[in-house]
């Protein structure tokens, strides 16, 4: 059995926090996804942006996906400009991770625009869900 409460003073060194809420609860790191489609709506809102994408599935049917990304301020500092970088009607490719419930929603990591330019759009997978190891030992 592991010793759960060592006597020495516990020191936690910094692990930077990526997001204000648990992407790991909503989205599955084991479900990486790449979607190409047409932007139907952009919600440039705090605490996180969402954009919507019409994507053709394997049978040719168009499905609308909801994609989550970084907060607007983070995107501003990584090269995005509101109403300019991504607009309704644009064709883009987004990489990210699909929702745990298997629905048509995902969180983004990177967007590739029609001119080939790439920008980061969201955090790594599993963000905000506590990581790989809890801060306390399992009994």
């Amino acid at each position: 059995m592991k010793k759960a409460f060592p006597l020495a003073a516990a020191v936690l060194l910094a692990l930077p926090a990526w997001a204000h809420h648990s992407f790991g609860a909503e989205y599955d790191a084991k479900k990486p996804i790449t979607l190409t489609g047409t932007v139907t709506k952009v919600e440039w809102t705090n605490p996180h942006i969402h954009f919507f994408l019409d994507v053709k599935d394997s049978s040719g049917k168009v499905v609308n996906w909801k994609i989550e990304g970084f907060p607007p301020n983070v995107l501003y500092r990584t090269g995005w400009k509101r109403d300019v970088t991504m607009k309704t009607g644009d064709t883009i490719t987004v990489t990210g991770w699909q929702a745990r419930d298997g629905g048509n929603w995902a969180h983004s990591r990177e967007v590739t625009f029609s001119d080939g330019k790439k920008l980061f759009a969201g955090p790594p997978s599993g963000t905000g869900d506590g990581g790989n190891t809890p801060v306390v030992s399992e009994q």
Partner: protein, 275 residues
């Protein structure tokens, strides 16, 4: 050579003859205010160790410096034989509660409700910049994240009419070049650092800010909570200067999408529970 030595020796004698208060500070890259204190004024990024502008320090991954190829990797495994990370010193009943939050993937994170993050957690969120304004009487820390701010009077005592709050009541003092902040009067609704690290209203935090060079503040927070912890818990990080960065508004409640998605997920926890 001898002349040089003698000169040095003479300089030491002269130095020693001057009262300590009148001696100039040794050459250093730490900027100082008119009253001789380390100057913390500026825009900073907490929980970082990279020098440079915001863009330089956070390139290659949006944030944190991860490259695209690393994005699927949460954190590198510790080298074989390396000591395992120490457990946080929670009392056994409290450790179970922390683990439950971990197993529920932090879906109960107070921050997800846009509540103020508390201390020291506010100094773990490297996603956003913070700005410090310093006067001889007060240091003000303003965080873009959740529009949080802390007004820290120097040399003051805690008021005697305090009520519990998310960010606590902070008073500061100088211990040499270290700015020491005593924080008390917390509510029990924030997490200390990461997932599930709850505390009680008995929490007492002692923070130490030390500007060690032009780029860096070292930060140490000692958390004491006899109702929940078995002993003090220490969090350390560095805070890096980010010249040229401007704080922007962050109104967390503009969109309610995530909380609505959480409500859907909570109907069946097996979808997201670890165990």
């Amino acid at each position: 050579m001898m002349t040089g030595l003698r000169l040095t020796f003479s300089a030491i004698l002269i130095w020693a003859a001057v009262p300590v208060s009148a001696q100039p500070k040794p050459a250093s890259t730490v900027p100082r205010t008119a009253d001789g204190k380390p100057d913390f004024t500026g825009v900073w990024q907490v929980a970082s160790n990279r020098k440079g502008t915001w863009e330089q320090a956070n390139a290659n991954g949006g944030l944190g410096g991860l490259s695209a190829s690393e994005t699927a990797v949460r954190a590198p495994a510790p080298p074989r034989g390396a000591p395992a990370r120490e457990s946080a010193p929670y009392q056994p009943w409290a450790a179970k509660k922390v683990l439950e939050s971990f197993n529920r993937r932090a879906i109960d994170d107070p921050q997800a409700q846009c509540l103020l993050p508390g201390v020291p957690r506010v100094n773990t969120v490297g996603l956003f910049p913070m700005q410090i304004v310093q006067t001889p009487q007060t240091i003000v820390m303003m965080y873009e994240y959740l529009n949080a701010f802390r007004i820290i009077p120097i040399g003051a005592k805690h008021p005697d009419d305090l009520e519990p709050t998310f960010m606590g009541d902070a008073v500061g003092r100088w211990d040499g070049d270290t700015f020491v902040v005593d924080v008390t009067s917390f509510n029990d609704r924030t997490w200390l650092i990461g997932t599930g690290t709850f505390h009680s209203d008995a929490l007492h935090v002692t923070e130490k800010y030390r500007r060690i060079d032009a780029d860096t503040i070292t930060y140490e927070a000692t958390m004491e909570d006899p109702k929940v912890l078995t002993k003090p818990w220490v969090y350390r990080t560095t805070i890096m200067k980010r010249d040229g960065t401007r704080l922007r508004e962050y109104e967390c409640q503009e969109s309610d999408d995530d909380r609505q998605e959480y409500q859907k997920l909570l109907k069946d926890e097996t979808v997201f529970r670890r165990k």
